[in-house]
Symmetry: C2
Subunit: 146 residues, 2 copies
DNA sequence: TGGCAAGCTTTAGCCTGCTAATAATTGTTT
DNA sequence: AAACAATTATTAGCAGGCTAAAGCTTGCCA
């Protein structure tokens, strides 16, 4: 291999790693009795930190597309974790709020997620993190034209 | 942030990066008139390099699950790119082969994929690649118990 | 003011990822 | 040899990612 990019390895490695992370999260959720998918958690996490956020902004922050946000919110509403309120200023928008049950879920799940994050990072250090961020951002930027 | 793992940043960054890569690949496929999804390409790539491979092995190599491999192969067979042949030694297995049309597709698409790999890696160097591999493998290993 | 473009959300349709269950075949064990 | 376990692939069902198109609402502009 003359240059790293000649191998499919780096696409594959990223793909494999994120799959692993998602699997571990989901399994831990299931073991813990959380009736929640990883992506449902991602939305809850963002809503908890941005009560009243619009679906649009939610989509931007999570890099999910609008239809996906709609569907995940449908499920969360059905579970009673989240509420859509018509925006006062702009009737095209919904403001999304956690219901009491959603707040409870957030507070219950967050420590578990944090623990998994720590476990995944393991003994990697600040310098590794700097490398990681620099490399991932670089790849992203190299595709910024798209 | 006292420790990198306290932030959701690294899960998110990996997720965002792989999404970006997939989007770029798919758009370039579409622009180039390839009637092919990224995951269909991944299977073609592996079959091209391992003619006669079983679906099971294909699943392992691509870290896809068996049902997904079944469905993607169904599509590739329908497109006439790939062929399932019953295994002689073990009638539970299929051996997968590229059809002439599939070989043509492989040879046409490969240069485009290579170009995108190079573009994504940009001016990152061998040392960066070593960091990248070490960090991603480390994360994966930290979850190896699962 | 009336019309038209732009923005927010939803719907529909396809593809992929995951689990659980099933069918068919092979391997093992007694 | 017969029963049982393991392996390979498929089917079904739910969830999420993507695009395209539609319905409302808002903003702009003539």
């Amino acid at each position: 291999m003359t240059h790293p990019s000649d191998s499919r390895a780096y696409f594959f490695k990223i793909d494999t790693t994120i799959k692993k992370i998602r699997n571990v999260l989901q399994k831990r959720f299931n073991e813990s009795g959380f009736d929640l998918t990883v992506d449902q958690w991602v939305l809850i996490d963002h809503v908890a930190r941005n009560q009243g956020i619009s679906q649009n902004t939610l989509a931007e922050l999570t890099t999910k597309d609008a239809p996906t946000v709609t569907r995940i919110l449908d499920l969360l509403v059905k579970k009673g974790l989240v509420e859509r309120r018509m925006s006062e200023e702009d009737r095209r928008k919904f403001n999304i709020y956690l219901q009491p049950e959603g707040i409870k879920t957030f507070e219950t799940v967050l420590p578990v997620v944090k623990e998994i994050r720590r476990q995944g990072w393991g003994s990697l250090n600040e310098e590794d993190y700097a490398h990681f961020v620099r490399i991932m951002d670089s790849i992203y930027q190299n595709f910024s034209e798209y």
